[in-house]
């Protein structure tokens, strides 16, 4: 579902990689949230996620959901960023055979899926193998 309010609301995370760090215990959340699940503190400050990370697990999607058929097959992985935060995203510009646990990647700004019914472009982050 890609609608203007949804894109607007997710812009800080999807376009600028804004995460939030608990001012009491230091845990970093991406996306931000209202209460820390570790210490229950409710104040955070914005930090930007680092662009570098490594793949901790991966797959190749060969039966895509609606909105992804023009990409199929495509690689997806869970990436641990340099500050320890984990995200899930596509791994682009990567042959399935070269996917591996530990693969160093960097984040890039890309089109993530086909446009929604309201015509808004679905931009966001993807990982690519570090060059």
């Amino acid at each position: 579902m890609i609608t203007p309010p949804l894109v607007r609301r997710n812009t800080p995370q999807r376009y600028r990689m804004e995460a939030y760090q608990c001012t009491k215990c230091g845990k970093i959340f991406f996306p931000g949230r209202l209460v820390c699940d570790r210490c229950k503190h409710r104040e955070f400050e914005m930090v930007t996620l680092p662009e570098e990370g490594k793949v901790i697990t991966h797959t190749v999607i060969r039966t895509p959901p609606t909105g992804f058929s023009d990409l199929s097959p495509y690689c997806v992985g869970i990436v641990e960023m340099a500050n320890g935060v984990r995200i899930l995203c596509q791994i682009a510009d990567c042959e399935p055979e070269t996917l591996a646990v530990g693969l160093p990647v960097t984040l890039e700004f890309r089109r993530v899926q086909e446009d929604g019914e309201s015509g808004v472009l679905a931009y966001g982050y993807k990982a690519v193998p570090a060059r």
């Binding site: 797959t59 895509p64 959901p65 609606t66 495509y74 596509q90 993530v112």
Partner: protein
């Protein structure tokens, strides 16, 4: 809290039932359960359904189904915890009877999945993952479980063949289940050579898309002794737990903490340990899931789940039979009905009515039903009421 027993069960055949509607599927299973229990009236009803809206366009099915069952104006509520909806519906009925609020409650589950195309179906299922941070990126459920499998292989040395053995074993069982969607035996080679879905998972590692419904009637144990037509089954424990629904937010991707937490509560409630359980129906939506679940239930040590099927331990004649019904893999997985279909098999085995697939020692059974990639889990433990 009153003791609670199951006095009736019913289920439809599982499969691609193009000529049958959601309401007819549910009512068939519900009538069979009421006939089995010998009751013509229920006080209340819970229906597990993951996404009747996205699969059929129909919400508000609690009331719809109560009316078509001829039971309006009883209270009827749809329960949703993704693929654990059926188990959660039983837990709601269990709590309502245990509390004394109602005496005879129908706990059912239904999903009608084949009215939509494959892409739409994959989309509907993916709504059980984190919509903004998983589904947005195009990951599917096979994809999430594939990533659990890759992590399990990297951490514990689990082999691709270990996954295949789970499917082979469950198809061996489902072959003997007249309700099962895929009643065929398969080999490890069949699994390894089947079409790739999300590496390393192939189509024969995945539970199918299924239409079907199941129902169970619960009542106070004291009443069950008086009115039940067949051996009543006592619910020794009913427990539920949660975890993050986004896989990447979990500290250990290979560890199913919701199942572990629900199991711990259930064992405590029943005053039992894993060694006291004779057999289990577990949520094998993908082959790797059964491996992780056996670890979380404490049936095997962490990291040892891969050996369980390969060694024969979980076969019907093994030390701890798992999924004698054929599991989700062979029997089929109409998402909201699955948790109740597991209960159907446990009760059938406890009653000694499982025919060719009857286990030699089925005194006490455990059902584990799971939602999403493990964000919800429900565990029930049952034995014949003494």
């Amino acid at each position: 809290m009153r003791d609670v027993a199951i006095i009736g069960i019913g289920m439809t055949d599982f499969g691609e039932l193009w000529t049958e509607s959601l309401r007819d599927l549910f009512v068939k299973a519900a009538l069979e359960a009421m006939d089995d229990a010998g009751v013509d009236h229920i006080d209340s009803m819970y229906v597990g359904s993951m996404s009747s809206g996205l699969f059929t366009g129909q919400e508000h099915i609690g009331s719809l189904l109560a009316a078509y069952l001829g039971q309006a104006p009883i209270p009827a509520t749809r329960v949703e915890t993704a693929c654990a909806s059926g188990g959660a519906a039983l837990r709601c009925g269990y709590l309502e009877v245990a509390s004394g609020a109602s005496d005879i409650v129908l706990c059912g589950g239904v999903e009608k999945m084949t009215d939509v195309s494959g892409g739409r179906c994959t989309y509907a299922l993916a709504t059980a993952s984190d919509q903004d941070y998983e589904a947005f990126h195009g990951v599917t459920f096979p994809g999430l479980y594939a990533m659990i499998a890759v992590a399990h292989m990297a951490k514990y040395g689990t082999k691709r063949e270990d996954l295949a053995h789970v499917a082979v074993k469950n198809h061996d069982n489902g072959f003997l289940n007249p309700h099962a969607q895929y009643r065929m035996k398969i080999t490890v080679e069949d699994v390894l050579n089947s079409v790739k879905v999300a590496d390393p998972l192939n189509i024969l590692d995945c539970s199918p898309v299924t239409d079907g419904a199941a129902a169970a009637i619960v009542c106070p144990a004291d009443m069950a002794r008086k009115i039940a037509r067949k051996a009543p089954v006592k619910i020794l424990a009913s427990a539920q737990a949660t975890d993050t629904i986004a896989l990447h937010e979990r500290e250990d991707i290979t560890w199913n903490n919701a199942t572990a937490a629900a199991a711990e509560k259930a064992y405590k409630q029943a005053g039992l340990s894993p060694q006291d359980i004779c057999f289990a129906e577990v949520h094998d939506c993908f082959t790797i899931a059964e491996i992780c679940v056996l670890e979380a239930l404490g049936v095997v040590e962490k990291g040892k789940g891969g050996e369980a099927s390969r060694s024969g331990m979980t076969a019907r004649d093994g030390k701890f039979p798992v999924n004698p019904s054929g599991g989700l893999k062979s029997k089929g997985h109409p998402v909201g009905a699955t948790g109740i279909a597991q209960i159907h098999e446990i009760v059938t085995q406890l009653r000694g009515e499982a025919g060719e697939r009857q286990l030699s020692d089925a005194r006490r059974g455990l059902a584990q039903n799971m939602g999403g990639s493990g964000g919800s889990a429900v565990v029930h433990i049952m034995e014949v009421l003494s």
